[in-house]
């Protein structure tokens, strides 16, 4: 029997747990020439405000050991153009579209969600309360427990769509933020967004990116992200979408064992845009080797028994 890769995020069922991460996949359509979007569990759009945004001046990224720092600054076309220009094409491509929603105020989050509620083909809203790269809005909600609670409650009242706050790792105790989101009615949480970081050009003594500070992503952050998913899994009941430096099926499974129901792949799209079919094949191979019929049976099955001592 074919392995069952489907997972459920509350009322939303996905054919597999692999979702393209926001900011790492354009609006999805950019990748249509190399990836069958219907093959993915879901696609998360770039972050969208009500209006268009230009983002930060380049250079916007710099590579760091096993990772990269970015400060794109949420360049985007705004929710209205997204609904008009992108969403119909995503629907046509068979994508399950998650829209990453940004705001500078709670009212703006609510308004963007209302626009998306009227649109055809939005699977869920990922609430961006964690972008480290803009001064106003976003992370100011994600770094305050009451801010997180308030913005999630407000958008829950404004839309029938599933709400998935995306949490920042730049707090002392990310699990308490997952709990605040759950208490406010969130349908799931996704984590982690990028780690606030910087890189200096020692020859010029100047920053390597224009915004000075940016968000670190890629394999470098994976062990910290896995730890944070595990912490959240022990505290909340709502599903967790885990991410942070996933490059292959083993990485994806690591997050699921730590408690993630689904996972997002971000930076690896840049390294290898053909990553998706490789990870899907790897998941099936793992399930066969471990005699797992349903991938959802893996969720949270991490066994904290200490490893056997290995002597060299």
């Amino acid at each position: 029997m074919a392995p069952d890769l489907s997972v459920s995020l509350g009322s939303l069922t996905l054919p597999n747990p692999l979702i393209a991460a926001s900011g790492c996949f354009g609006y999805g359509l950019e990748y249509e020439q190399v990836v069958d979007l219907s093959m993915l569990g879901g696609v998360v759009s770039k972050g969208l405000f009500m209006k268009e945004r230009q983002g930060h001046p380049p250079p916007r990224i710099v590579e760091t050991p096993a990772g990269m720092i970015n400060a794109i600054g949420l360049q985007g076309i705004g929710v209205h153009r997204f609904v008009k220009e992108k969403l119909p094409l995503l629907n046509k491509a068979g994508a399950r579209t998650f829209v990453n929603v940004c705001g500078t105020t709670i009212d703006e989050y609510v308004e963007v969600c209302k626009v998306l509620s009227q649109a055809d083909g939005v699977a869920a809203i990922e609430l961006n309360i964690s972008c480290p790269n803009i001064k106003e809005g976003g992370i100011q909600f994600g770094c305050s427990l009451t801010g997180t609670y308030d913005v999630v409650s407000a958008v829950k009242k404004a839309t029938h769509l599933p709400i998935i706050p995306k949490l920042t790792p730049n707090v002392t105790d990310v699990a308490s933020f997952a709990r605040a989101a759950e208490d406010a009615g969130a349908d799931a949480v996704s984590l982690v967004n990028t780690f606030l970081a910087m890189a200096i050009d020692v020859e010029t003594r100047r920053p390597k990116i224009t915004n000075v500070l940016g968000g670190l992503s890629g394999p470098a952050i994976r062990p910290i992200a896995v730890r944070m998913v595990w912490e959240c899994y022990q505290l909340v009941k709502i599903p967790i979408i885990g991410m942070g430096g996933i490059t292959d099926a083993r990485d994806a499974i690591e997050f699921m064992l730590a408690g993630a129901t689904a996972v997002q792949i971000g930076t690896q799209n840049f390294v290898d845009p053909f990553v998706w079919s490789k990870v899907l094949d790897g998941l099936k191979d793992y399930m066969t080797r471990h005699n797992v019929a349903k991938i959802s049976d893996l969720i949270g099955t991490f066994d904290p028994t200490p490893p056997k001592a290995v002597h060299a």
Partner: protein
């Protein structure tokens, strides 16, 4: 045609100088698809340092004796960690090669002339363009500047295609075979533009193609505009993915009277109309 991703074996890595090499890759499916001005995203395969690929113009489309496409080459200049690793590759090593990507040059046909302006490693997109122009019998000049005469490469290649060479070196040194003007490549270019006028068809006499350091691109675009000749510029920006996913490689572009927009040079470029680029 969509780009392909190939684990390409290194056929050769010819060191042209202590900084430059021509890295030849067995990537026939990339070569067959490539149009002049397009690029590939490249990194040594199977490692996380470097993590991201780097963009390179396709330098040559390689063919065997029977004329079949066997791969591509890239012109690599050692500048950072990634290009150093590429410089050190040996035949048999494997490189991840995604492409071809991006908007190619728009060629011109006689009586319009083609003037290619290259600064340093900016020579990279002009070998394939020169072949295409030579095939169309477009009269073509290469204005080519480098720091020293030792960093002027592939002169025989361009001469054999019938291309006129105008060479400059910053130190005024001469190549073994060729006279070089001291200074920047924009000097002789401006002299030529002053006399350009219009072609017999009444259109602009020449299409200027430029690739090189950003200050050179700006200077060339401004000169072309001043002397009313059209100009296509191939830009190089820090690029994450090459496919439009990451929004790293943006450049300010203005169409008509609109305000400038930051557009992705990977999918809207790397070749732009020089008149539409906004210079800081």
């Amino acid at each position: 045609m969509p780009p392909v991703d190939i684990d390409a074996t290194v056929i050769a890595n010819a060191r042209l100088s202590r900084d430059y090499s021509v890295l030849s890759l067995a990537a026939p499916e990339v070569g067959k698809r490539t149009q002049p001005g397009q690029f590939v995203m490249v990194k040594p395969a199977g490692i996380t340092d470097p993590l991201l690929r780097r963009p390179f113009s396709v330098f040559e489309v390689l063919r065997n004796g029977a004329g079949e496409v066997t791969g591509i080459s890239i012109l690599n200049k050692r500048a950072g960690r990634s290009t150093k690793k590429l410089y050190e590759l040996e035949p048999g090593d494997v490189v991840s090669c995604l492409g071809p990507l991006g908007v190619p040059f728009t060629p011109v046909a006689p009586p319009v002339e083609a003037w290619m302006v290259a600064g340093g490693v900016g020579l990279a997109p002009f070998a394939t363009l020169a072949e295409s122009l030579a095939g169309a019998k477009t009269p073509t000049t290469l204005f080519y500047g480098a720091r020293t005469a030792e960093e002027l490469f592939y002169l025989d290649f361009f001469e054999q295609l019938g291309i006129t060479l105008v060479l400059t070196t910053e130190d005024g040194g001469h190549s073994l075979k060729k006279h070089c003007v001291k200074g920047r490549v924009t000097g002789p270019l401006e002299a030529a533009l002053k006399n350009a006028g219009t072609s017999s068809s009444g259109n602009a006499a020449a299409m200027v193609y430029a690739c090189g350091p950003e200050p050179m691109l700006e200077a060339v675009a401004r000169l072309a505009a001043r002397y009313n000749q059209p100009c296509q510029v191939s830009v190089e920006r820090v690029m994450g993915c090459g496919l439009g996913g990451c929004y790293s490689c943006v450049v300010p572009v203005r169409h008509g009277d609109e305000h400038a927009n930051l557009v992705r040079s990977c999918i809207s470029g790397p070749v732009f109309d020089g008149a539409e680029l906004v210079w800081d």
